[in-house]
Symmetry: C2
Subunit: 241 residues, 2 copies
């Protein structure tokens, strides 16, 4: 038997319970857009990002600590909030030294699930911080579960493509017996040279671009290493390692 | 808006609840091997196949009606049974005019779930009856949910490849907004000319071939139209339409 750590891919939050998280680094993946936004805010100097599961909680916590409440429901800025889930909203001039309190439809919910299921370590991943995620996983040498946030428990391709990007870099150093990972890497290999060209075929693209005009968000979210930091979750906060 | 019926793909039994089954034909897909076995038995003249969820139930029902109890757990003939889940076991000389009472790890369980969730119509699909499934769905013009049985709720590629095969034939006549379906068709297109060559990469292949030597089963299960009948579920039984 190989002594390499294992790597598995969970294609939906509804499948996360199938994997042993207690000895694993869980990578929360919500490409459009929560984990891209988290990378962007931290890259631009945010003190930390506090992920929360409801809008009232985001407002309450941000008030009590003087942070910025932000969030999204169904692709739009959540009712009652002034800031949304766009990575482009969080430039340095706005977010530096601030605390972002963020609630989203899929990504922050998955993070909470991983926590409830006893994950050893939780980090967040997206194309803008692809290299930081891979470098961390290579260095840690622990088992890995790539957790795709999907869309309301449905499979989506953008999170799967990011999982595939990670697998393509790590596969030599991990034991992978998992059809989800095989599929993810295959889909990534096919589209890696033109992710933006493939994007219009994705369900979520239509939600974000046709309904909300967020084409610049999409481009940012599909470009590697534009915000190359490692968001590590500890005691309720995501901070750069 | 298009008046075409919709088509969605559920990649795991744990995702089936996300789809509206009440107005849909649900295709139960368990390529290795339940739905291939069902096609084989009916093609070879079985009166019907009664899918059940436990070994004791298979024994009880088969005794009371003079049928053949068969089943599989974890890839092997289930304890207490003499017949398993191999499509090659059910040749005409053995199964003609018999009733097969079948219990399996994934496929028969998914069928029961679809029934519990109020599916309008349930059929079973596999490569050996690919054309019969596609012809039926084209003729019915109802919404379709392709239900992959997976392996103990995990995603698997062989069921996804069959979903992709169906989609590649039906896509012009259905409305498909579903990343699962897009992925399934893409994976099928990539491997359709050499499914048997791709099979050794699949998790389930190792379970069946390396542990149990079932290479002939695998070949049968990946070949189109070797047992081209349409198993339709009605009042507890699968019979050919």
């Amino acid at each position: 038997m190989s002594n390499k750590p294992t790597l598995n891919t969970s294609l939906s939050p509804a499948l996360l319970h199938l994997y042993d998280l207690s000895n694993s680094v869980v990578v929360i993946i919500d490409v459009f857009r929560a984990t891209s936004t988290i990378a962007s805010a931290l890259y631009n100097g945010a003190k930390c990002v506090i992920p929360v599961d409801s809008v009232p909680k985001a407002i309450e916590i941000s008030k009590s600590i003087g942070g910025i409440a932000a969030g999204e429901r169904d692709g739009m800025i959540a009712e009652g909030l002034q800031h949304g889930n766009s990575p482009l909203e969080y430039g340095r001039e706005f977010i530096e030294n601030q605390t972002l309190v963020l609630t989203t439809t899929n990504g922050t919910r998955l993070l909470q699930m991983a926590l409830d299921k006893g994950a050893d370590t939780i980090i967040s991943g997206s194309f803008p911080n692809l290299s930081a995620v891979c470098d961390y996983l290579m260095a840690e040498k622990k088992n890995v579960v790539l957790g795709c946030a999907g869309w309301k428990d449905r499979f989506n391709l953008e999170d799967t493509l990011f999982a595939g990007a990670v697998i393509s870099r790590l596969k030599k150093d991990f034991t992978i017996h998992c059809d989800s990972s095989l599929m993810a890497e295959s889909m990534y290999s096919k589209h890696k040279n033109n992710l933006a060209g493939f994007a219009p075929k994705l369900t979520h693209y239509h939600r974000l671009v046709e309904r909300f005009g967020l084409i610049e968000d999409i481009k940012f979210c599909l470009t590697a290493d534009l915000a190359n930091v490692l968001p590590l979750y500890k005691e309720g906060k995501l901070t750069t390692k």
